[in-house]
Symmetry: C2
Subunit: 407 residues, 2 copies
Amino acid sequence: MPSLRKELPRGFRWAAVKAGIKASGRTDVAVAVADRMASAAVMFTDNQVVAAPVTVGRKHMAATQGCVKAVVVNAGNANCATGAPGIAVSEETCRKAAELFGCAAEEVIPSSTGIIGVPLPIEKLTSALPHAAERLAHSNAAAEAFATAIMTTDTKMKVSQATVEAAETSVRIFGCCKGAGMIGPQLGPPHATMLVYLFTDIAAEPAVLRELLQGRVEASFNSISVDGDTSTNDTVLLLASGASGVKWSDAPRSFQDDFCDALQHVCNELAHAIIDDGEGVTHVVTLEISGTANDADAKTIAKSIAHSPLCKTAWSSADPNWGRIIAAAGYAGVPFSPEETTVTIGGVKVFDRGVRAAGYDEAVVHEKMKQREYTIAVSVGSGPGRSRFLTCDLTVEYVHINADYST
Amino acid sequence: MPSLRKELPRGFRWAAVKAGIKASGRTDVAVAVADRMASAAVMFTDNQVVAAPVTVGRKHMAATQGCVKAVVVNAGNANCATGAPGIAVSEETCRKAAELFGCAAEEVIPSSTGIIGVPLPIEKLTSALPHAAERLAHSNAAAEAFATAIMTTDTKMKVSQATVEAAETSVRIFGCCKGAGMIGPQLGPPHATMLVYLFTDIAAEPAVLRELLQGRVEASFNSISVDGDTSTNDTVLLLASGASGVKWSDAPRSFQDDFCDALQHVCNELAHAIIDDGEGVTHVVTLEISGTANDADAKTIAKSIAHSPLCKTAWSSADPNWGRIIAAAGYAGVPFSPEETTVTIGGVKVFDRGVRAAGYDEAVVHEKMKQREYTIAVSVGSGPGRSRFLTCDLTVEYVHINADYST
């Protein structure tokens, strides 16, 4: 289990309690509270079907224009496909939290993750909130408790930290997330069940945070897939407390660049952690697609390969069946010529402009693919488009996990 | 094993031999020959990467404008990603067949199915052809031998027949196909590795056959999916010998309608047989999507559900996890409102305009889903669009089959 080794961003407290929503009896309600009001930016799922907390969260962010006092997350129940009663449950959660934390209900962002279509037991959730409020603390233990309570089928807590040096002080970033299945995020400007919470103590306007977040999410959370199933609940929330005293608008360009890099680093680490802990995953595969007309085309090819059951099952046994890779690229809907296409696996060329690479040795590639992590590079021409996309194999264990979920 | 019970279309002979291309040592070269020249229509895969026989087949059909004397199919090797040498192999196959059957090389259509990227041993194939020629026969045994030799991971021979009564005679249709994995056909006007061969003794111009074929394929082979992996080799070939003496152009409208229905029936039976014999399949699921703006949108939603690993794994254990179904519909990219959406499984309503259906009983739905075949109906509104799409579950056995394919 990774643990927190750097300073946490100032201005936040965290807590987690057991509300009895998870069948396992583990902690299942996580709360984060800003000492003062935090600036916020959020991205929710692009799914046409969204959970009640996403609907409520969108409304609250629109109402406050990006002011957040508290976040309340429950795991074990997605509060999705629960209709008007589900919306009422999310709103009631925010009202109770607002009373406890001295803010408006609109200044609370709710999140839920777990099974779809089952009413969320509101009494369990709201009666747990006072206990959570009592335990709020600015400590590694509290932040880790938060990061642990949001887990569902995850086997590991997923956290990442960064520190950015400013003139006389430093700015801190702490991120945590959950997600192991139903992972194929498509986050839109204002978009798993991937839940990601990013905390920083920089002082920045919500508009700045939105731009920062959108820029970081595209190359991280929007470029990963376990199963391609885009959740109804995916949420990435960035909160800035301002408690470092460092103002984005006054900071020199070099600091801004460093902050962007640090935030990208945290997003990338968390995105990697999601794939690495993906349901049944035994291999993490980075797809590097290049040579398309534009980046969007490259990503389309990457997703086609990442979602191909034949590619994913071959990876599970370190099978260098690269024919499946070019077939999946070929049905992506992006025009390209196999005669201009090359494919390398773990740095070894397997397909070279229309044919099997000269000197191709299956045993060599098989050895490369036995590693837990490797890269498959597909170049389909000389265009400037490229995509780096993180995905994983499809194993018997994935099928077991998902065939046995609710029964 | 289904067997042939009706009269075969006149004017064709079939044969199959062992060429040593399949590792199993089973029959792997199948030949069909028209006594006189047959009219033909063909649809090949829409994949950007196509096998050599598809390239050669397209060229031959263009050169002859739809005149076919013979079809030569090999199983065990897809002759794909084999470059110019692969093309030469396909062309050489056609030349040898042309010598044997007394026609031009362009009047021979080659097909291949099996592993991608491995050179097809031309000597094995061409030296087998004379043996096949000796065995050609117009018999059930010969037609079944053809249908059996084209199989790869298929566990069953797939055949279908129909007879259409004409004024003083009858017109016969015989179809056979192979395909169990890499099944997500996207066949275009002149589009698995699904291979489908349709034989009839009607007399019709290639232009008529093309129109007939395209109309039938959309609702059958283009509306099925095992794994969504569109092959580089998919081929549907319709051959008309004319030997019944019934001319399409002279036939009454009522006969034409009957013939269309019969051809659709054969295509539907073969398409169903492919899903029923899909790799690792334990449940065949018909998706009936309705209420979209148009049929294309309905099919997009159907494919999103049919390709969702979470839906497919839930079906494998008869798990009524309908939240996964609405989530997959929701990320298809087609706008709809959950509040106007209903979902039934095996005739039992599970989701009703935004919420779990009143009186929902998981045990009842679980029982319905234990059947090998059932229907999931999703209505997303009041639009006229609809799609009927046939798919299957994703099982541990599918993973085993495809993780162990070439190693």
